[in-house]
């Protein structure tokens, strides 16, 4: 109990000391909390997107087969499917029709696609919620498209997909095969690519090799490659994420370095006076430890809580601009919270512990000097 009372007395003194220099310490607290907010937001956001991609794309086709001409993706003849389905291990091969449509009025790109079963009339489309948000005014309730041959096609939207699926469907425009071929100019007998269903997924590598052997101008893309693409983009160790994190970490180090390289004249005098009135070096170190702990713990709580609110309640609005780039269309989505105790522990040890320890080093140097010298200096 005596020990606890002693520590509380140190905290009382530390808080009074911090409050005497409130302008400096409050601005320090804000900068510190901001750095932690940025670091935590990046970690929470990338982790949540990565988990979302892994969960959602688990349902994507086991294998996609593209045809390449001159190193570029090209239309694939649908009779390639007959050769692929003869390879042992494949259970079905289906053509996929999809492409892009650039809408000049709003300067945005949309994905046009033909579902396997489109049960609606040819003059209709089903659209993602993002299409409705960005397309602009409709003509008599219909979307107009410029077909590949210059002809104008009017299509009525009869169904809009919900916001809940925006992360995968925001820019989708689903239509019948006839309408798609008319707009995109994909001739009969050709598809954008082929999807392959495989009986035993562990054989997918072998089947992919066999497909390249039978059809050398093709490029098989496996489901695991699709998932790996997203895992690597939102991996905190690479890409854009490391740039964002790097900025945050660098800011933190500059900030901590400034703290470690020395104390202000006022702080030195304070230490000299405290030593002069009988404080031990260990008392001064304990006081400074509490000073670091008070600031870093408060900044940690502020930064981490606001990062959580930013990512999971406000859909990471600050990152929207970076992700959107020059695009017009951006999906509306709420991420599933996926923070674990390990991530919190990492953030704590990366931010609170170094700062708290680093504040002790210059204090120890001054506190170990004769108080008379410190005060004169």
């Amino acid at each position: 109990m005596k020990w606890i009372e002693r520590q509380r007395a140190f905290i009382d003194f530390t808080l009074s000391s911090l409050w005497r220099r409130k302008a400096k310490n409050l601005s320090l607290l804000m900068v510190y909390a901001l750095v932690i907010f940025l670091l935590s937001s990046v970690i929470f956001f990338t982790q949540a997107l990565r988990k979302e991609a892994e969960a959602v794309l688990d349902g994507s086709p086991q294998m996609i087969v593209q045809r390449t001409v001159g190193g570029r993706h090209s239309l694939i003849p649908t009779d390639y499917a007959e050769k692929i389905v003869q390879i042992r291990g494949t259970s079905s091969v289906k053509p996929r029709l999809w492409g892009y449509y650039y809408h000049p009025a709003t300067r945005s790109n949309y994905t046009i696609m033909v579902p396997e079963n489109y049960p609606r009339p040819d003059d209709t489309v089903e659209i993602g919620a993002g299409v409705l948000r960005t397309w602009g005014p409709l003509r008599d309730g219909s979307f107009y498209f410029n077909a590949h041959d210059g002809e104008t096609v009017f299509l009525k939207a009869i169904n809009t997909m919900t916001n809940e699926t925006d992360l995968v469907s925001a820019d989708l425009i689903l239509m019948s095969e006839t309408t798609f071929r008319k707009i995109a100019g994909v001739p009969e007998g050709y598809a954008t690519d082929l999807t392959v269903r495989i009986r035993n997924e562990r054989e997918s590598q072998t089947i992919a090799r066999k497909i390249i052997h039978v059809l050398p101008d093709t490029r098989p893309i496996l489901k695991e490659e699709i998932i790996r693409t997203y895992s690597s983009i939102f991996d905190w160790r690479g890409g854009y994420v490391i740039v964002l994190l790097g900025g945050g970490v660098l800011a933190f180090f500059i900030f901590a370095w400034d703290k470690a390289t020395g104390l202000s004249a006022e702080e030195k005098t304070e230490i000299g006076i405290l030593k002069g009135i009988g404080w031990d070096t260990s008392d001064i170190l304990t006081m400074k430890f509490w000073e670091g702990a008070v600031i870093s713990l408060t900044a940690f709580l502020l930064g981490v809580i606001s990062a959580y609110v930013h990512v999971y309640f406000a859909s990471a609005t600050l990152f929207e601009h970076a992700l959107k780039g020059w695009a017009i269309l951006y999906p509306e989505f709420t991420l599933r919270p996926s923070v674990n105790a390990f991530q919190l522990a990492i953030l704590f040890f990366l931010t609170v512990v170094p700062y708290t320890l680093i504040t002790i080093v210059p204090t120890w140097k001054v506190a170990a000097t004769d108080p008379d010298v410190v005060m004169r200096h």
Partner: protein
């Protein structure tokens, strides 16, 4: 009665920790059903339409369908072309080049 500064700080720390614990460990449980429902819908759509990519970057074809892009697509416009879409900087080089 005057409250000691340390008492005020410890109360603040306790309340902050409670809020943090509530957000990190209770909020996900409260919203689990909603989240699972949304995820099930997205999964169903991906399976039904045979989708391969997230609709995050719609500015260029190789960023809209990252997994379907040509291996060297950011530079395909002409040899030595510079990447010009901001979201292109999000994408890591292909594995075989990075090794």
């Amino acid at each position: 009665m005057v409250v000691r500064k340390s008492t005020g700080f410890l109360i603040l720390l306790f309340v902050g920790s409670l809020v943090m614990a509530g957000l990190f460990f209770i909020h996900p449980r409260l919203h689990r059903d909603d989240c699972e429902r949304g995820l099930a819908k997205r999964r169903h759509l991906v399976r039904e339409l045979q989708l391969t990519d997230l609709c995050l970057f719609t500015e260029a074809r190789y960023t809209r369908h990252l997994s379907q892009a040509d291996l060297h697509s950011p530079f395909q416009d002409y040899p030595m072309a510079f990447e010009h879409f901001p979201s292109g900087s999000l994408v890591l080089p292909p594995g075989h080049l990075a090794r």
